[in-house]
Symmetry: C3
Subunit: 336 residues, 3 copies
């Protein structure tokens, strides 16, 4: 472990040092056996422990962990399909030498026929060592966690929570930018709807990021209660409708999709949509070491022309997501 | 192995001694390579061997078997979805270090497009070492077993057979109650339809259980041919419409769901349904060491209030199901 | 490796010697990391290397390769279901000790919701070490391979290509007949449509098979451009409408299904269909060591009565398909 820490501190090309994240371990007991339904279930220290562990794993290389979860089973209970999330969890467990069972769609599942979530959770506890549940109904994974005897992870419940996306984003920022206290983090697009943005903003506020820049059309600004929550944490916010104006000061630019149906009328959509598409010309105004993030899948909100820009790290974000889930499950299972 | 037997005989908390099951091994050759389509395919000795092996595995702990099936592949061929059965098989194989492939729904399967079961069985024999098939058509798994060169297991064929549910039930009774010759086993609910009940009653009669108590509305009594079959085996039966009256003498209470559509009219359903719902008040009349079983999923035939009663072992029954399937496949593959 | 070669040369019952295939290894570097979208992507030497490696694996026995791909992950991306192809790939990877993730049907997949193939390929590159993609749209796997950083395999794209079926067929002919230069290969049935036949004919022409016999109704003859391509390679062809006439000279008889809807009218279909059904009577006219192949699933174009004829090797062809895919992936991953 000493060796791992040294490697991390001395860095390598592409390895960022995380001065603000204390790399000394919080007692793993805190996460062992614990379910993760909302990012709020974890203290800031526990979130940092996942981030630090994920970064250590990336430093050491995936091959060092090939037997870490030998004999462990992950259950993937997807009551609605979400291939990207499911495959990310599966590769995370397989890379650690564990196995996977489950279903990718409730239509393939007799579980959907009348059985209560509570009963399913109790039975699955005999089949697996850790489970991820995605469900169209808000609160379903929380209910499951209450009845299960193994840790449950919320893989997305309706428009509510998706905590491993937040962990993925935290690992990505830590890896490619480092100390949160130095980062101006901008969110661009639809800030009104979308659990991804809300969850990350709330968590970054808890972790004392330097500043937020909130870029959206007026129809799609951050909900007031979230705005107040960030204010209460003392994190400064800048609100604007224009990406180009503010991009020069941004360290982390988090893009989101604006869905056509969010607009009151087609004319507004047509007028506004280009303002929130990131292209090469807008990137010219950005810092040389800014990073562009996106939860994927993207549709047209990021032009293909910038995919090869080294600042475009939204595909590497998927890689960070695998390590975030490896770290989370390894800690929940008590093998790290 | 000596150690295993001693552990079992001296018992632990929660471990039941099985005096009537001879723990000396029947030659494993009998089950090796053999398909299981109906419980009748196995002799009483072979059924006991599966039960004994499953109980030994539970005594020793699941971690001792992590490499038992290394390199072996289970094919799960589910022409209709049955998530619980499929996942139970999958965890059983994964816990023994093997792998799993297959499909959970024939819609996901081009196998459904015109190919004969016989051809599929022959091809799958090159892909896997053991296979479980669930099929809406009665007889499909039997046909597959005839053409396959690997052991096939019936995972349920229409309303016909579901032999690993029967094995699960036998392992559960052996584990939590012990000697069958001492057990008064009651079945409550719909005894007319439902392969689970029929299959278990026939098998327990073969294995010389002490007595049956059959509790159902008059519309849903046990079919005459089954009644005669049990009589021929010399096992006494008590038939009643009232659960509360007979519960004091019962050792094993097997609950089943009464489906509304089984009744001729809604009035009868409304009048009768509560009689067959197990609740805390009815449990007051039962023995202190009676066990309550249910094949799951339950709907409302067992009140949630008794889930924490130590006699309610229907979730632990799922655990026994995993061990029953581990034992079965290990014996079929000749690794135990 | 010396031991392997000796075993192969001295043969065993059922092992055929391949004098025309040089068993010395072509440098594996050629295939390592390379995608396979069309058989034309591989040189004749590379195709031979896959065939030779597959045959070596069959000689040595599958158990010798149980750790070859330990820690490797195969992604199965099936945008339309094809259970046989998917399971063949899965067993190939599992037999080599690797793992599998993916989806069997795009309906189970949010990947289908708007994301570009290019983006999916980039993300999957972080989840797996090799991927097989089946897609209803011609060209999709090719596009994926261009953006992926791991080798992609085309598992069938529309009516276009299905290169691992061709590899399967090459391995089968090599195993059961040996030297291609000695083989008269007949194709019977629908030669107009059907990528399987077209792909194999083109590849066998490149590999200088002795002669083709093309048997089909006039409505379903080989397309002119393919006919010319074979002519250009200097391989003689005999064209006929009558299977019985030519069967005595055939070494390899490749049967295909004639779909009713391919005929202009029902009368023609009824008149012709029996001519192209292989039965015991027609087999009487064939050589004692001819082999009958079929890509499966068959419907009625081969009578069940000849399944036990030792010349009917269409089920063993499925076994060869597993080894063909093992060899391909092992070479692409650089572990052989």
């Amino acid at each position: 472990m000493v060796l791992v820490c040294l490697l991390a501190y001395y860095g390598r090309e592409g390895t960022f040092i995380l001065p603000s994240l204390n790399r000394k371990r919080v007692s793993a007991v805190a996460i062992r056996g614990k379910s993760l339904i909302s990012p709020d279930d974890f203290t800031v220290e526990e979130l940092q422990q996942v981030v630090t562990t994920a970064n250590e794993m990336m430093d050491t290389g995936i091959d060092s962990y090939g037997d870490l979860c030998k004999g462990k089973i992950l259950a993937t209970l997807f009551y609605e399909p979400s291939t990207r999330t499911r495959l990310s969890f599966e590769t995370a467990m397989l890379r650690m030498g564990g196995s996977v069972l489950g279903f990718g769609d409730a239509n393939t599942s007799s579980v959907s026929k009348g059985e209560s979530i509570a009963d399913t959770a109790r039975v699955i506890s005999y089949y697996a060592d850790v489970a991820v549940m995605r469900h169209p109904k808000e609160g379903a994974p929380k209910l499951a966690a209450q009845y299960a005897t193994i840790p449950f992870i919320n893989g997305g419940d309706g428009g509510h929570q998706h905590p491993t996306q937040t962990l993925t984003d935290l690992v990505t920022i830590a890896r490619y930018k480092g100390d949160l206290a130095q980062q101006v983090v901008a969110f661009c697009g639809d800030l009104k709807f979308g659990r991804t943005v809300h969850s990350l903003i709330r968590t970054l506020a808890r972790m004392q990021v330097k500043k937020f820049v909130l870029i959206s059309p007026e129809e799609l600004t951050l909900p007031t209660h979230l705005y107040r929550e960030v204010q209460a944490k003392g994190v400064p916010m800048e609100v604007t409708t224009c990406l180009e104006e503010v991009i020069p000061e941004v360290d982390v630019l988090y893009m989101t999709r604006i869905q056509r149906e969010r607009f009151f009328n087609e004319a507004d959509y047509q007028r506004l949509k280009d303002t929130y598409i990131l292209d090469a010309r807008k990137m010219e105004g950005a810092k040389r070491d800014m990073i562009v993030m996106h939860p994927l899948p993207r549709v047209n909100e990021i032009a293909y022309e910038i995919d090869d820009d080294p600042r475009a790290i939204y595909f590497k974000q998927s890689e960070c997501g695998v390590y975030a889930r490896m770290a989370l499950m390894a800690l929940q299972l008590g093998v790290m």
